[in-house]
Structures are given as structure tokens and as C-alpha cells.
């Protein structure tokens, strides 16, 4: 049977051939953060800017973990092969470590202006950043495998009781990692006041130590206790995907997506419907992040003439997130894309459905409130220009060729 080293050699071989600009993007984001933090030195809030991005980046890095463990595009194939649980766990952990190292690079790059200004005062921020990296690298995988174990054990219990397992609690697959990430974020917010020597609910050394310990410790515990369930997880999650996608008994398509359907070709409308359900279930964070952007832009619209930096940050980060969502649409982590190819769904139909989904998200959460906020900003022409460029970016994002699943 394959050892961890052999399996990862195959994975590295596949990764080396898969077109990816992840490291290039990482450097670009780190440079952008450094620039924004440097700009913040003149406005008196560079550390706040760094910390906001650190928390947002943590959420992204942490919540990518399920796609490295059970929502892998090759889950169906791997579930059928006799590959040991710890080998599958190590593979997911390696992918999470890669994500965490990219996240670390962004944090270090972004902190460069702070280090140059006052290295000593920056150390508490870097310590919290390191703790968040440890959480993303270790606790993300642990939360995923823990959630997967809960699902497999629940199914086993149901089967033993002779009841139908059709209503297995898949919500826990995304819900548990989300809950753990939320606790870490609350702790960081709770200690934020103490990072620059002020008073806070929690002292930062305690929070940093706790997060780092949980991050490293939970990964070790998960490998020891739960990795053995990985093959069952892949199989059960594949089963649940089939059950839920076959009957479409998942969250209903958003009303806006249903409204768009008559304006599209029947094939694109059907695809939009399926994608809408898939995204609602797989990426509930899309709605949460969208709602956050909506609230910020709404506040800026109601309270105009403030500094443009918050508007720019919200619109640009929302556009980057929309591009990421477009990529998720192209890489739906199930057997669905293969089935769609077999059914003759063309690239054009896919682009049309994906564009409709991304644009619905964009205009609902960002475009409309952003337009009002831009019109009422102290530099409306610049604000409208930035919003227009960001919108163009989100329109172009789904037009890239689909990645094979």
C-alpha cells in the first residue's frame, strides 16, 4: 500500500503540473498589505489595519481546510482505493500547512513597515499572527477531521439503529470548523487592546500561547485519534453529496437566482440553480462576508464624507473574495463537473451560469450599497472609478477556463 511519502510524491507531481499562481498572489497581497499599513502610519492606525487583514486572512486560510480533507475533487477516486487514513490525513495536513505558510508570508510582508518603524512594539502583533498561523495549520485540519468523524459515527449509529441515514448532519462538516475559527477570532479581538500596551479583556500573551498550543496540539491529537476515519469520511461525504445533489434536498436556490433563470438559456438556468444550492451549502461564509461588506458600505453611505480608505478596502477585498468565489464555482468539489461534461454542458453555459452567480452576489452585497457610498464619498469620482474597476474584475473572473475536477 502507499506510504505517506509515496502518496505525497504523487501529489507534488500533480501539483507541479497544475497551473497555479498562488505564491505570486501571496507576494502581491503581502506587498499590498505592506503598502496599506505604511499608508496607515500617517493616519495613526497601521496596526489596526494589519490586525484586520490578519483576522480576515485567518478566516480564509482556516476555512479552506475542508477542501483539503473531505471535499477534495478526487474524493470519489480515493474513497475506492485502499489508502490508509493517516496517509490521507497527512496529505490534507500538508495542503493546510502550505495555505498557512502563504498566510504567514502575507502577515510578515505586511508587518514590514511596522518592524521598520518600531520593531519592539510590533512583536506582540507578530506573536498573535504566529498563533493564528498555527491555528490555521493545525486546528483547521483537526476541526475538519473531528467534524468528519462525527458524521461517520453518526451514520454508523443510525445504521445500527436501523433508521435511514438520509438526514445525516452534514452541516457539522462546515459548521464545526467555522465555530472553531469564530472562537479564535473572538479571542484575538478580546486581546486586541493589550497588543499596544493598553488594557483589554484578555492579555495577549495568554491568547497567543493558548492559540498556538491548541493549533499544534489539536493536529497531533487529530492524527492520533481521528485520522483512521479518513477513508470512511471520504466515502460518507461522497455518499451524502450524491444523496443531496441527486435529490437537491439542500438549501433552496436563492430567490434572486430563481428570478434570473428566465433571462438565461435553460441549460445555464439549471446549472445556476445547482451551483446556487452547492454554494449555499459549501460556502456559507460567502453570505456572511457579503453581509459584512454590505453593512460597512451602508454605514459609509449613511455617514458620508469620511476617509476613502475604508471604502477602498471593503470594495477591493470584496472583489478579491468574489474572484475567489468564481474560482470555487469552477472547481466544484464534487463529481458534478464530470457529470456536467458528460451531459454536454459547454464552457459557454458554465461561464454564463457562473457569471450570473458572482454578479448576483456582487450587486446584492457590494455593487448597490457601494454605488450609494461612492456617490456620497468625499472623492466620488475616484470612488466610482474603483467600484467600476472592481466590478469589471468580478465580471471577468468567471470567464477563465474551467479547471478539471
Amino acid at each position: 500500500m502507499l506510504s505517506s511519502r509515496e502518496f505525497q510524491r504523487w501529489e507534488r507531481q500533480a501539483a507541479a503540473r497544475t497551473p497555479s499562481h498562488a505564491w505570486l498572489w501571496t507576494v502581491a497581497v503581502a506587498a499590498a498589505l505592506a503598502g496599506w499599513v505604511y499608508h496607515g502610519i500617517d493616519h495613526g492606525d497601521p496596526t489596526t489595519r494589519w490586525l484586520v487583514v490578519a483576522v480576515a486572512g485567518f478566516a480564509l486560510a482556516f476555512l479552506r481546510a475542508p477542501t483539503h480533507f473531505f471535499w477534495r475533487s478526487d474524493a470519489t477516486l480515493l474513497a475506492r482505493l485502499p489508502i490508509a487514513g493517516h496517509v490521507l490525513f497527512d496529505s490534507g495536513l500538508r495542503r493546510s500547512l502550505l495555505d498557512a505558510s502563504r498566510y504567514a508570508l502575507v502577515l510578515i510582508g505586511g508587518a514590514a513597515p511596522l518592524l521598520a518603524t518600531d520593531a519592539h512594539a510590533t512583536l506582540p502583533y507578530l506573536a498573535i499572527g504566529a498563533a493564528l498561523v498555527a491555528m490555521a495549520a493545525g486546528a483547521g485540519p483537526a476541526a475538519c477531521v473531528g467534524a468528519g468523524t462525527l458524521v461517520t459515527q453518526d451514520r454508523a449509529r443510525q445504521l445500527l439503529a436501523g433508521s435511514a441515514p438520509a438526514t445525516a448532519p452534514t452541516a457539522v462538516l462546515g459548521g464545526l470548523p467555522g465555530f472553531v475559527a469564530a472562537i479564535a477570532i473572538v479571542l484575538v479581538i478580546g486581546c486586541a487592546g493589550s497588543l499596544d500596551g493598553g488594557s483589554a479583556e484578555l492579555p495577549w500573551p495568554l491568547v497567543a500561547a493558548a492559540l498556538a498550543t491548541v493549533g499544534v496540539g489539536s493536529a497531533l491529537v487529530a492524527r492520533q485519534a481521528w485520522a483512521v476515519h479518513m477513508p470512511a469520511m471520504l466515502r460518507d461525504v461522497t455518499t451524502l453529496d450524491r444523496q443531496q445533489l441527486a435529490t437537491l434536498q439542500i438549501l433552496p436556490a436563492a430567490p434572486l437566482h430563481r428570478l434570473l433563470a428566465p433571462a438565461m438559456s435553460p441549460a445555464a438556468a439549471r446549472l445556476l440553480d445547482v451551483r446556487s444550492r452547492l454554494m449555499s451549502r459549501r460556502y456559507p461564509m460567502a453570505s456572511v462576508a457579503g453581509a459584512l461588506a454590505f453593512v460597512i458600505l451602508l454605514v459609509l453611505a449613511i455617514w458620508p464624507r469620511v476617509d476613502l480608505s475604508l471604502f477602498v478596502t471593503t470594495v477591493v477585498s470584496s472583489a478579491v473574495y468574489a474572484v475567489m468565489l468564481a474560482r470555487r464555482l469552477r472547481q466544484a468539489p464534487t463529481a458534478v463537473p464530470r457529470l456536467e461534461r458528460a451531459l454536454g454542458i459547454t464552457e459557454d453555459v458554465q461561464r454564463s451560469a457562473h457569471t450570473a452567480w458572482v454578479q448576483t452576489w456582487w450587486w446584492l452585497f457590494v455593487g448597490v450599497p457601494g454605488g450609494i457610498a461612492a456617490a456620497r464619498a468625499n472623492q466620488p469620482a475616484i470612488a466610482v472609478g474603483i467600484l467600476a474597476v472592481a466590478t469589471l474584475l468580478t465580471i471577468m473572473a468567471p470567464r477563465r477556463q474551467s479547471q478539471p475536477a
Binding site: A14, L81, A166, Q249, R338
Partner: protein, 239 residues
């Protein structure tokens, strides 16, 4: 018995995709699984491959539950369309599957030669046509001397030469003691070489013909199986 399916049920929501079916596969058998779209053929094959968990029932391969590594190493599965690593070459993909089953990566070359695929061995999977993908899926199902070979409409989309290569490889597999269970809508070549025919409809196994019964059916003429299919399964469209 090399594979045993006992009271298998798979439910998708409120719908029974497979409803309490039982059968066995014997070593050296080539079995056709026929039925209309939505009859439950693919779900049965997927459950037998260990890719999905049954709602009820048991599946054993050589006496081991299908979820065990020992059983998985013996089962080869080609789904529709086959799951391939798109950025691997054909030889790498089949080699990876061979190694995962405990075989030798070099076995990939032998299987690809057997299926007439040596010319595309160095091509990336993402560049393959539908028919080529089907053949690579078949190669991955056969590699590492699997003893239960499950094929989900794998012969569909193959040209006559490729079909001959595939059937020759399957005949060779049955000759070494493997059992082949193959769902298809294309009767003809496969029908002539099969040892047994099972008919599914609405999740139920409604016919299991082998031995004398199958020989008697074959004597009724070249369209006898198609006639039986039409007779036993009403034309209701997709279910």
C-alpha cells in the same frame, strides 16, 4: 463466491435508488447488468466499489466487507465518466492506481499495451477524448490484477477496435478468475461473450439469467435479449 451482495438498499432522500437486492458474483463470470436510466445500476456498482455507503445491506469481496483495504485492493471500478487525475499522463494515472492497490507501477504499461493504449501513455488525461477516457478508466479498473471488475457503461463511446481490445482484456481477466459486472445499454458484442445477464428496474433486480436459461434465450435469435428487455421493462422514460 468472489463477491456477495446481500439485501442492498441505497436511498437518495425519499427515493429508493436500489431496493433490497441480493446476488453473488462467481470467479470467472462476465455479467451484464441491464436496465433503463435510473434503474439503480450505477448506484449498485458504486456501492459495490465502496464509494458510497449503503442505506442497508452488506457487500463482501472475497469474504471481506467492501470497506476494508483488503477488499478495496481487489476491486476495480470504472465509473461514467471515469475519475482521472487530469494533470497526470495516462501511464501515471494508471500507475498511481496500481501502486495504491499494492501493485507495481510498471503493471500500468502491461495493461495499457493490452488495451492498445501505449500510443497515448504519455499524454495528459486532460487532453483525452470521451472514448479515450473510457479506455483509461477501464485500464485503471484492470490494473493490479483486480478480482472484481465493475464497469459503469464503460463500453459506451468506444470504436469497434477499442471495443474488441476491451472485451479481449475482460475475457483475459475472467480467464484468470476475475468476475466482471458491467452495466451497458449496448447489446451485441458484450451480449455474445457474457455468462450471465441481470435486469434491473426501479431499484429492483427483476431477472437473473445464466446457464441453460441464458443459452435458451440466445437460441431464440440475435434480438432475444433486447426483446426480453422490452417485454419486462415498460417504456416509461427516465425514472
Amino acid at each position: 463466491m468472489i463477491a456477495q451482495v446481500n439485501q442492498l438498499s441505497v436511498r437518495y432522500g425519499r427515493r429508493n435508488a436500489v431496493d433490497d437486492i441480493s446476488f453473488e458474483l462467481r470467479a470467472g463470470e462476465l455479467v451484464l447488468l441491464l436496465g433503463p436510466n435510473g434503474a439503480g445500476k450505477s448506484t449498485t456498482l458504486s456501492a459495490m466499489s465502496g464509494a458510497i455507503t449503503p442505506t442497508a445491506g452488506t457487500i463482501t469481496i472475497a469474504g471481506q466487507p467492501v470497506v476494508t483495504d483488503a477488499a478495496k485492493a481487489k476491486v476495480g471500478f470504472a465509473d461514467q465518466p471515469p475519475a482521472l487525475y487530469e494533470f497526470f499522463t495516462v501511464e501515471e494515472h494508471v500507475g498511481f492506481v496500481a501502486q495504491a492497490r499494492g501493485g507495481d507501477r510498471a503493471e500500468a504499461t502491461a495493461v495499457l499495451t493490452q488495451l492498445g493504449l501505449q500510443a497515448i501513455a504519455a499524454r495528459p488525461c486532460r487532453e483525452l477524448s470521451f472514448g479515450m477516457r473510457q479506455r483509461v478508466g477501464l485500464a485503471a479498473a484492470l490494473v493490479a490484477n483486480t478480482s472484481v471488475i465493475l464497469l459503469d457503461e464503460t463500453l459506451n463511446g468506444l470504436d469497434p477496435h477499442a471495443t474488441r481490445h476491451a472485451l479481449a482484456a475482460l475475457t483475459a481477466a475472467t480467464a484468470r478468475g476475475a468476475a466482471v459486472l458491467m452495466s451497458t445499454h449496448l447489446l451485441g458484442s458484450a451480449e455474445r461473450r457474457c455468462d450471465r445477464v441481470m435486469l434491473m428496474n426501479k431499484g429492483k433486480l427483476i431477472e437473473d439469467l445464466h446457464g441453460d436459461a441464458l443459452a435458451a434465450l440466445a437460441q431464440r435469435g440475435p434480438t432475444a435479449l433486447e426483446d426480453l428487455y422490452v417485454e419486462r421493462i415498460a417504456d416509461e422514460g427516465p425514472t
